[in-house]
Amino acid sequence: MYQISNVNFSIGKRLILKELSFSVSKGEVFTIIGPNGSGKTTLLKLLTGIYKPDSGDILLDGMDIKTMSPKVLSRKLSVISQNVNIQFPFTCFEVVMMGRNPRVVNNQKLSNKDLDAVIWAMEKTNTLQYGERLITELSGGEKQRIMLARTLAQDTPYILLDEAFSDMDMHYVIKSMKLLRELVDTKGITVVNIVHDLNLVYHFSDRVLLLKDGKIESLGHKFEVMKKENIERTFKIRVESVKDRGMLILP
């Protein structure tokens, strides 16, 4: 469980996040939406411990995230960032195997159990056939599937995603979302997700945080937040609610 209380954060002189307080409970898909520059990615980076809040506290399962070492943290949460830039020709196997690094003590070799986790993750994401190909030669969507496999291999109770499926085709976006949903429902993991596609938010979230200018515009169950007036006001677009089906965006 995440508890965020009175968090302020600024980059340079610009205050990005203002007095944020909310919590994420165990076993839910918590989605963060908001217009460009509203502070979504910054908020996610605070949750991963990359950024430290100027004031306020972020507690992960009751522990202050500032006091946790990278090793400890990497056993608790895995992250897929917006753009990962891999310069060197690692094979996809090698990249997914890196997901097991948090569990390896002192340069030990990967055990059979680790390798099973790697292959399970690649099977789930339908990437086994890429195993020996180089990550530098894959397309954007394929790369994102490998990153998802790495995250699954990391086997953490928390998964944080920053538009992690933005380059995948619709088939794999839905498949990946369903996969995460399945893990949330069966294993009780927690997913914090930044998504732009409002339909996906509607279908795959439990609770939604609508962020605007670094402040909470609306927070609650997806049906409460994903209301016509909320979306139209925040995103400055016109939408139509389709009963039980999500949202139709009108250009």
Partner: protein, 357 residues
């Protein structure tokens, strides 16, 4: 289902292992051959038996064996060729390992051992020492020590400059390396200018040559490169993660600040030692990692030890060629650059072609 997993793993790892063993065997055989050829060849031809006698006799202090040879042969092997060969092996290896490490730490495949200005620092130190030695008679400043000091000081300056709020970013390291390096190279030019007629000594040092290698050089370069390689190999797994950027490394359980400091220190000290012994030998630190990545992939756990082997091997071959190819000796730095440049072009073109397909 379990069985299929096992099979897949086995197939993948078997293929990889085989590749590593073949590469290792090829390199070791090549190294032994080059080693004997390079003792063998030169103005004085020396047979295999003599070589074995000298090494055996010296290592185990067996006067009876040494007395079987005449003094000159023994001296040529032990005092001239052997230290030179060892220097070539460890300078080449050290430059290649530090190149591999720098590329990953700086997240830039175009980086090499000299990107952070270590070589210019060494050149500056050396040229001051050479200049003072020419001007002042009576005492001589050891050029190697001055070069080493110059390299280490430059490194300190570059690292301090690139710190922002106690954080070293790869881009800052490259930029401040370039800045400091260009200031120092102006300094070197100034030294050359004031040195007047004696400019040849400075230019000669900078061209990169192993011709004056002696046992003292071996004792400087061997322990530092060996230790640096061991440290880098031990932490190579973290280096893999670090090459994807700080955030990724942290998400996968590596403290990027801490491990970057380890790698920068280890590889810079290696470069400093190599440069101070040999002068500036180009392209080894850039090409060796690229060659190896074509065969072994990007995993630094394999790349680093293999860089040591291949780098040493290449520089030894180049140095032997520099010795015996022409009547007068060619500086080995010229050979590595002349051969390395086109080879790098070849890799570059090949890579671009593949990307088009």
């Amino acid at each position: 289902m379990e069985n299929r997993y096992r099979d897949l793993q086995l197939e993948y790892f078997k293929k990889n292992k085989l590749r590593v063993w073949i590469a290792l065997a090829a390199l070791v055989i090549l190294m032994i051959v080059t080693f004997f050829f390079s003792i063998n060849l030169g103005r004085a031809y020396i047979g295999a038996k003599d070589i074995a006698y000298v090494i055996w006799g010296r290592l185990f202090a067996r006067k009876d064996i040494l007395s079987l040879l005449d003094e000159t042969t023994s001296a040529i092997i032990w005092d001239i060729r052997l230290p030179r060969i060892l220097c070539a092996l460890f300078v080449g290896g050290g430059l290649a390992v530090s190149g591999t490490v720098f590329q990953s730490v700086l997240m830039n495949p175009m980086a090499d051992s000299y990107t952070m200005g270590v070589s210019t620092g060494a050149a500056f130190g050396a040229s001051i020492a050479i200049f003072l030695n020419i001007m002042a008679t009576g005492f001589a400043i050891p050029v190697t020590a001055a070069a080493f000091l110059g390299a280490v000081l430059t490194l300190g300056v570059v690292m301090t400059l690139s710190k922002v709020k106690g954080y070293l970013s790869p881009v800052n390291l490259i930029l401040s390396g370039i800045i400091v390096s260009s200031i120092l190279s102006a300094g070197v030019t100034l030294m050359k200018n004031v040195a007047g007629e004696n400019v040849g000594a400075i230019v000669g040092w900078m061209m990169g040559s192993l011709s004056s290698s002696n046992w003292n050089d071996v004792f400087l370069v061997l322990p530092i490169t060996a230790l640096g390689t061991l440290i880098s190999t031990y932490f190579a797994n973290s280096l893999n993660l670090l090459s994807m950027g700080d955030e990724e490394a942290r998400y996968l359980g590596v403290d990027p600040e801490k491990s970057r400091k380890i790698f920068l220190t280890a590889s810079s000290m290696m470069t400093a030692a190599c440069v101070s012994v040999s002068g500036i030998i180009g392209f080894v630190g850039l090409i060796v990692p690229h060659m190896l990545r074509l065969v072994l992939g990007a995993d630094n756990r394999k790349l680093i030890p293999f860089s040591m082997l291949l780098g040493g091997q290449l520089l030894l071959a180049a140095d032997t060629a520099a010795r015996v190819l022409l009547r007068t000796e060619i500086p080995v730095g010229v050979i590595t650059t002349m051969l390395g440049g086109p080879f790098f072009l070849f890799i570059f073109i090949r890579k671009n072609r593949r990307r088009d397909v």
